[in-house]
């Protein structure tokens, strides 16, 4: 199998102008009388380039669209508009070949494994779907080893309920590795694992990047986790990326008020006296006009935006991502 020459300058995944919406559910009568629920714009115009070999964290609260974005990059959701390029070529309609290159790890390791299948069968499933030639047993053993389950043979005949949560996640990772992918998209890979076990899985993911050159996209709500493993961080709010840059920059010198607010509420010693945003994560079916963050923005609420003469722009104009520093962009009128 010839490996095509990879140009390191070309992003491995390139999403342009991505829009993903979910139609509101229309009850039978509501539909008859013309009242349809507004559709939820889960991903509302995202441009994102994933660089080869990097660990990119997509962070945000629930409802911000990060999971939808990840699933769209996997091909599990179809965008309403926009394109996704994989290695500079558009994502093919027939996704089977694509799925060999881009694989996914799920949030719930217990749910992600069919309880009636042995570990061996779960890992081999990918090989069988794609009818990969060669010694299946060797490949399964190699993948389990790479995922840290050694000796692999010991796990072949076990069922998911006979192993622990951390081990199950490793099985899911092995199931992804067995296809030799180039990109792994991890949706909250450790949030459902015990705290003391998370580090091991994160270490594994970093190790896979270092040893195999994998590109890893991690979706998380936990900025601490992003600090631990990410090279770059993209912060999402209501379907848009509001800040993007190197982890050191975004997490220690944030430019967007939302990122600042998120970092402010990360718990730490010193008590609870810190500004907390009011209100709830907003509803993707009712996206505010102007800057979508302005109703909750502390800069607006405190009057600083008005004092600086930006209030009109904040309420009227949707800011685009602007470059503020080297490789660091944010979508905020005030930040410029």
């Amino acid at each position: 199998m010839t490996i095509p020459a990879i140009d390191p300058a070309v992003p491995v995944l390139d999403a342009r102008g991505l829009h993903v919406s979910f139609a509101g559910r229309t009850g039978m009568f509501a539909g008859l009388f013309g009242r349809a629920e507004a559709s939820a714009r889960a991903v509302d115009g995202v441009d994102l380039q994933v660089r080869r070999g990097e660990v990119l964290a997509i962070a945000g609260e629930s409802g911000c669209g990060k999971t939808t974005l990840a699933r769209t990059l996997m091909g599990l959701e179809r965008p309403r508009a926009g394109t996704i390029l994989f290695e500079d070529k558009p994502m093919p309609r027939d996704l089977r070949a694509y799925r060999r290159k881009v694989q996914m790890i799920f949030q719930d390791p217990t749910g992600a494994l069919n309880p009636r299948q042995t570990i061996y069968e779960s890992v081999a499933e990918g090989l069988r779907i794609h009818r990969v030639p060669g010694n299946e047993k060797e490949r399964v053993a190699a993948a389990l080893s790479q995922a840290g389950l050694r000796p692999p043979e010991r796990f072949f005949l076990l069922y998911p309920h006979e192993i622990s949560g951390g081990q199950r996640q490793r099985v899911v990772i092995a199931g992804a590795l067995v296809l030799n992918p180039e990109v792994i998209i991890a949706d909250e890979p450790v949030s459902m694992l015990d705290a003391s076990v998370r580090g091991e899985i994160l270490k594994l993911l970093l190790g896979l990047r270092d040893e195999l050159g994998l590109t890893i996209v991690v979706v998380t709500h936990d900025l601490g986790m992003a600090w631990m493993i990410a090279d770059r961080v993209a912060v999402m709010y209501l379907g848009r990326i509001v800040e993007l840059g190197p982890a050191e920059e975004v997490l220690t010198k944030p430019r967007h008020p939302y990122t600042k607010a998120l970092l402010d509420v990360v718990p730490e010693a010193g008590g609870l006296d810190r500004p907390v945003l009011t209100g709830e994560p907003p509803d993707p079916t009712r996206i505010p006009a102007g800057c979508r963050f302005h109703p909750r923005c502390p800069e607006v609420a405190s009057g600083r935006a008005e004092a600086a003469g930006f209030l009109g722009r904040c309420t009227g104009e949707d800011p685009a991502l602007r470059v503020l520093a080297a490789d660091h962009t944010a979508a905020c009128h005030l930040a410029e």
């Binding site: 705290a195 003391s196 990360v266």
Partner: protein
Amino acid sequence: MSVLSVRDLNVSYTTQAGDVPAVRGVNLDVARGEVLGLAGESGCGKSTVAHAVLRLLPVGARAEGEVLLDGEDVLAMKPGRLRAVRWTEAAIVFQGAMHALNPVRRVGDQVAEAMTIHRQASEREAFRRAQQLVEQVGLPARRARDYPHELSGGQRQRIMIAMALACNPNLIIADEPTTALDVMVQAQVLSLLSGLQQEFGLAMIFITHDLSVLVEACDRIAVMYAGRIVEEGPSDLLFGSPAHPYTKALAAAFPQIGDERFRRAPSGLPGDPPDPAAVPRGCPFHPRCPEAIAACAREDPSLLKLTVDGRRRAACIRVDRLGAPEMVP
């Protein structure tokens, strides 16, 4: 004066495979106005301790020891007294607020229910007080007429807190109150709990696996592992310079953003929290402990004092041998 005093609490569940010890010899004290954090992962027994305080254990669970609530032993109470004590002296904010509310009744009615059960007020008065409580937890009073599905997760959690306050208890036990919530909503709920606790001078036990939350919200923390307390002490000291290897590992899972030491250096423990039915011999943590020595497989250490006044303690023989780590009184 201790609002709650737990002495040598042992809880075991009877299963087909025999008796499973969920809590093995736990001692706790919570004073009026104090917030105690109980940290630990799945299977460590922290939820069981919480339920034991109000004797809310399931059928098939046996509790031994003393649980003194304002001086009275809950485990020895007659059923009538127990029912009177429940909610009026201590209340629980349960885990998973989404499911703890009856979906077909208004939330205000559910908050008022505790008061009418304890005959503290007529139905009308109880509902009015429920509306007051709803306001105190940060929601407009009219939301008391809503049904649970009309509220968001964070709002439902606030209702659970209002319910817990309904009968003016002295002690509130919050069992993973923010686990399923977003960080922003979590911060709001923590703020709320802290505010209420200070305003009413409540004693509080805060149970979660998230050590960083406990550091913020609690005065003292007790870390549990395999049914035992393995370390306890003032929260900032415990988090800042943990003595027990398990506490160190738990603290490492919640990094300080901005601290270079945590950058690209995740560390975790091999293996998993032990199954209560199969706790390892000797120190239950030794199979996973990065600092274990040969003696750890034989000796099961009890909580050893790390400071003269006993405010900091850890159940690790290595700490004792090395001498107490540098302590700030």
